[in-house]
């Protein structure tokens, strides 16, 4: 195995070194890439959506890609982050900078509740329990309509300007909005990177690789799963907060299991277990949706077919496959 790369051109040491530097500064590189996004994509609205879903999927990737737990209920955290932000601003009159931490805290608590129940199960049962509990959250939001707006969604909490250190920023301007929301994304990216680099990040990877052995090594696997479930929910909730601030409305659909399915599709398209893959996956999905829905209302058929091709032939997704194929990026994530 020491001669793994026989027959291939030797990797370019310079490119390899450059890539290693970029990988070591993945937080800054990711933020820089996202800063360019509004100028690369056809519309600012699309760029904002990539940003939001990118954060949601990144949080999900912590659970699915790095810990190996396939949750089918992550919309619950996306939605709770959004709803709580909207409710705190619109109903309780809190400023956005208080509403967002509150929403994240509430989503983390929800993660503790759902995680406590679901991490007792494994495999398909875990997926089904998360799905069922997320649907429970959906129906609560549907029924508690005096609080959440029910089917009509939550309205009436428009944030039109944001006070940044004394400077009033017009939040209705798409570009201003993008860069303010990008600050949230940057925070999420930084936290995610810290977690992955931490000792705990090593534990969740060990659990993904071999749960039984991780336990024999002395890790409390169940507790670790619960913690990562909460962290994952918290990071995805940041995306929910961003969505609420962006849209000034929380549609009930944000909690629907279709949203959970979309999150799973995005992470698989982009590449589970890769740091930047979630953003690539979100961008790919949303661009496909944008482009294909121009010529057919049945865009889901096309996107679904592409998704099947990915699952069958590119299980590491776009970004993961790219990192595998490029000689100077191999063995890095």
């Amino acid at each position: 195995m020491t001669v793994q790369s026989t027959g291939e051109a030797p990797p370019l040491p310079q490119a390899q070194r450059l890539f290693a530097v970029l990988a070591d500064h993945r937080v800054l590189v990711s933020i820089a890439a996202l800063a360019l996004l509004p100028w690369l994509l056809p519309s600012k609205a699309l760029a904002v959506n990539v940003l939001i879903y990118g954060v949601v999927v990144m949080g999900y990737n912590l659970l699915f890609g790095y810990t190996g737990l396939l949750s089918f209920g992550h919309a619950a955290f996306f939605g709770t982050g959004a709803y709580l932000t909207g409710i705190a601003i619109g109903r309780w009159g809190l400023p956005w900078f208080a509403a967002v931490p509150l929403a994240i805290a509430a989503s983390t608590a929800l993660g503790a509740a759902i995680g406590t129940i679901s991490t007792r199960t494994r495999g398909i049962y875990f997926s089904m329990v998360t799905l069922a509990l997320a649907q429970l959250v959906y129906y609560v939001a549907l029924q508690a309509s005096s609080f959440t707006g029910g089917e009509n969604g939550l309205r009436g909490f428009t944030v039109d300007h944001i006070n940044l250190l004394g400077v009033q920023v017009n939040f209705l301007d798409p570009l201003n909005k993008y860069y303010v929301l990008m600050a949230f994304a940057a925070l999420a990216i930084w936290v995610q990177s810290r977690i992955l680099n931490s000792p705990f990040g090593a534990v969740i990877e060990a659990i993904r690789e071999n749960e039984q052995r991780a336990r024999a090594c002395g890790y409390d696997v169940e507790r670790c799963k619960l913690i990562v479930f909460m962290l994952s929910g918290a990071i995805s909730a940041i995306g929910g907060c961003m969505s609420a601030l962006h849209l000034s409305i929380v549609p009930l659909d944000i909690l629907h299991y279709q949203t959970s399915g979309m999150i799973v599709m995005m992470v698989l398209l982009g590449g589970a277990r890769s740091f930047f893959g979630p953003f690539i996956g979100a961008a790919t999905f949303l661009i496909l949706e944008d482009v294909v829905s121009l010529w057919t209302p049945h865009w889901q058929i096309v996107v679904g077919a592409i998704f099947v091709v990915f699952v069958l032939f590119l299980p590491k997704g776009i970004w993961g496959t790219l990192l595998d194929v490029l000689p100077w990026a191999r063995e890095r994530r």
Binding site: M1, T2, Q4, R194, I195, N197, S198, P199, F200, G201, A202, V203, E205, A206, E209, N210, Q212, R213, A214, R215, A216, C217, G218, Y219, D220, V221, R223, C224, I227, L231
Partner: protein, 251 residues
Amino acid sequence: MSTELLRAEGIGRRFGGFVALEGISVSFAAGELTSIIGPNGAGKSTFFNILSGTLPPSSGTLRFKGRDLNGLPQHRFVHQGISRSYQITNIFPDLSVHENVRVAAQAMVVSYDIWRNRADLVELGDRADAALAAVGLTGKRGELAKYLAHGQQRALEIAIALVSEPELLLLDEPTAGMGPEETKEMVALLERLAERRTVLLVEHKMKMVLGLSQRVLVLHHGRLLADGKPEDIRSNPDVRRVYLGQSEGYG
């Protein structure tokens, strides 16, 4: 020499109506290399799983250094000083060889820290390297564990168990699936390991067990059939009847 490390009293285990183990009482002294042998289905693995906390016993008590281990969850066993390897290679396939051992070492120190950089825990990396050196895998440290040869994966398996510095090392058929050359290397490794710690071994290869161990336990139909020095075991008529006679071929 004869400080008692682990004592099992009346250990029994049932699976539904099937009695896998019954009334096993045995005590292990610190510093000894003991082997557990017995025909297939004798209850060796079950006994081993109970000693390592993988399975709770249906009856009986387990004491390690005087402490009652009953009800202790499996992940706490290694923190008490009992570490095990598995018969079927049980490693972290998609992690590097070094990370396989490093993450095992980390379990003794820190689990839930989500903020520090793991690369700053330099001492853990060094301990992992020391464990890899002990099993002769230093040259492979950067490779993914899944790409190692079978014998090397067995050695990695032991390095993972070893890095927690256990007082009692439980090894479940460390030479399973190995050829003669690899087996020889493994035996040499086991001899080195046993110099410094208490080792308990489940093995199939008879000659190897008798040559290596200071003490041999023979299980048969879930009961302790014999317990003694290798030479006593070899001449024990009961053992010859149930095990040695029929397993000459195992070599």
